[in-house]
Symmetry: C2
Subunit: 133 residues, 2 copies
């Protein structure tokens, strides 16, 4: 459960560096990849700090996080609107998809069972056209 109190209070060089990398990044990247990118940029940041910042950003809903099949957590900046991911299980390519009907179905189903404050997660996996050939 993320509360407002999770929000970081200090504007450090490291936090800015991590956020900057995430702003530039198009797809998903692991904490270690982000750590490497920071090193390449000469903006070295401790690995634990990278982890802590990514977690904080994800808790604040500024980043999307998901697990790949190798057990790594991947992060990327999320676009504002609520959406879901279509992920290629072979090359990792992701497509953002929206399904208003699904949103409504999920909320309705939950309410039908007496649930409140409903959220949901949905991910679709498959083999993309490039990888299938």
């Amino acid at each position: 459960m993320s509360t407002a109190s999770d929000t970081p209070q200090r504007n450090t060089r490291q936090r800015r560096a991590v956020q900057s990398v995430m702003m530039d990044l198009e797809g998903f990247a692991s904490a270690q990849q982000i750590h490497d990118i920071l090193k390449q940029r000469g903006e070295s940041v401790g690995l634990s700090t990278v982890y802590r910042n990514l977690q904080a950003l994800a808790d604040a809903d500024l980043l999307d996080a998901l697990r790949n099949d190798d057990g790594e957590t991947l992060y990327r900046r999320c676009s504002s609107g609520h959406h879901h991911h279509l992920v290629c299980r072979s090359c990792g390519r992701t497509v953002e998809v929206e399904g208003p009907a699904v949103e409504r179905w999920a909320d309705l189903t939950a309410e039908k069972h007496g649930f409140r404050d409903v959220e949901h997660t949905l991910e679709i996996f498959g083999t993309c056209a490039d990888c299938a050939s």
Copy 2:
């Protein structure tokens, strides 16, 4: 890539025990949980053996495997009837829900983007009636 040669050749007590647990199990369980269940049943099996058997079974498409957010791999027998979970974030109570429309939407969306062999995961979270009061 799994080939037919992955298929185990010997019928050991341990393999039978693991398969038996998976047959009885309704939902997903981690390797360690399955290991515990085996211990409780008095059919002790080494943890590595549990891992190896679960992997072999998943490679042979006899089990479904997925990663949870804690980085554990969860297994369950491939059930023909596919459903999703509605989980109370307070007490953990879960309700199984079905949504044929969602299934179709997910498959359709994926195919529209050129994806094949489509799977998806969907979980709905909320606060159940008992916990809301």
